[in-house]
């Protein structure tokens, strides 16, 4: 089988403004490309066939990681391998750091970008879900300027986000974790590097062993990353003991409604989500 992309023209802008102008000039039949680790296979399989590829990988404004006023700003072009290795991310946005080893394989991580992953919003991907778990704000730029969208309002539907055609995701803003925060990440996949059957990230504010606030996000269970709102509510204000964990596992059925697919019936996916939830809450409670 030969997999070749349909012909397209290629442009490499040096600035965000130039990229936005190029997209405007081409119309909606253009596509931005950064790392291309999801887009290039889609082009090879001809699932997509844009007229023009606008290569944003050389735009310096989209790079850099800075911490200021309790927020970490991660440039959209930060590669997965950088997300894994960067000390600021490990310290302030630890769920990205913890999830990074599970994202595809080393060679993909050398090229794929955090912004690309979150802009694509594959519902089985780790980083979009962890952005939601950490309460990220997404900095989106268009010809009318920049805006910040809360992750809770950003994921709309399957591969559909608040990014409008022609707009670019410029940066991911994460509220830096505080000393009272605990977090845990894990996923269940058939083979290392495969998309997870189900995965989960939890960020909890725990004071005197009582949960003040908790965000629980699952991926691989629906059209978008899913916040387990009922489960969160069920745990808030509770001591994280065995009773609370079991109640949370029971509440999860009200949060997740996965569909059957060829390998995994919905009931199995919910069961695995419960297993994962129990493990992660156990880690947060300090058990091993």
């Amino acid at each position: 089988m030969l997999l070749k992309a349909r012909a397209f023209s290629y442009a490499r802008p040096a600035t965000i403004a130039e990229a936005l102008d190029l997209f405007q000039a081409v119309g909606e039949d253009a596509s931005y490309i950064a790392g291309g680790q999801s887009l290039v296979p889609a082009l090879a399989l001809r699932l997509q066939a844009p007229q023009t590829l606008i290569d944003i990988a050389h735009i310096a404004e989209l790079r850099g990681i800075t911490c200021d006023g309790g927020w970490l700003r991660i440039g959209a072009l930060t590669r997965h391998c950088e997300t894994l290795a960067d000390p600021l991310i490990a310290k302030h946005a630890p769920l990205f750091h913890d999830a990074a080893p599970y994202v595809a394989h080393p060679a993909i991580r050398n090229k794929g970008t955090l912004g690309g992953s979150i802009a694509l919003a594959d519902p089985a991907s780790e980083f979009p879900a962890m952005a939601l778990a950490m309460g990220a704000e997404l900095e989106i730029v268009g010809r009318d300027g920049a805006r910040r969208v809360a992750a809770d309002d950003y994921f709309i539907d399957l591969f559909q986000t608040a990014i409008e055609p022609g707009e670019l995701l410029a940066a991911i803003h994460i509220p830096a974790v505080r000393p009272t925060h605990r977090w845990a990440f894990d996923e269940l996949a058939r083979r290392r590097g495969d998309f997870a059957i189900v995965g989960c990230g939890i960020l909890a504010d725990v004071r005197s062993e009582q949960i003040e606030d908790i965000r629980i996000v699952f991926f691989g269970v629906g059209n978008t990353p899913v916040r387990a709102a009922n489960t969160e509510q069920c745990l808030t204000g509770k001591l994280l003991d065995q009773v609370a964990v079991q109640a949370a596992q029971a509440a999860l059925a009200d949060d997740l409604s996965p569909s059957d697919d060829e390998h995994t019936p919905a009931a199995m996916r919910i069961h695995l989500a419960r297993v994962l939830l129990g493990r992660l809450l156990g880690r947060i409670a300090g058990e091993t």
């Binding site: 030969l2 070749k4 023209s9 290569d55 394989h105 080393p106 060679a107």
Partner: protein, 166 residues
Amino acid sequence: MTINLTVNGEDVSESAPARETLADFLRMRLQLTGTHMGCEMGVCGACLVLVDGKVVHSCLMFAAQASGSVVETIEGLSERAAIADIQEAFHQRNALQCGFCTPGMLMTAQALLSQPGVPSRDEIRDALSGNYCRCTGYEAIVDAIASVARARTAATNGCQVGEVAE
């Protein structure tokens, strides 16, 4: 469009359509056929090359994106003897049969062994998770990489290099 890049130390300037992958560019225009193409969708790892020092899939990148970059293929690594010890270990351990996946395996091995420390077998397996071999079953490949990891560490620690005990 014109694509300018450095491949295995030589400046290259070639015209190619924008839709041509770096893998096709290397194989068809530069006759560097050591870069293999198995799946053309970033799954099998046979097409791995170094771009600006990082191992990437040459099937998941258009040559146009690599313009201005420094590329090294399996031919480059082999000819400057950077992986002679890994090649020898693969030979010694029978870590290949048909050899189709081997260029990608060697690329991954070199990237892993260029990092500090001696990788555990689990770390070697994790690094190889994006490289498919349909012949050997990986065990001998992990053995070969593990033996080079020990030998290289012994060499940098000033020990006698030779047969490394299991």
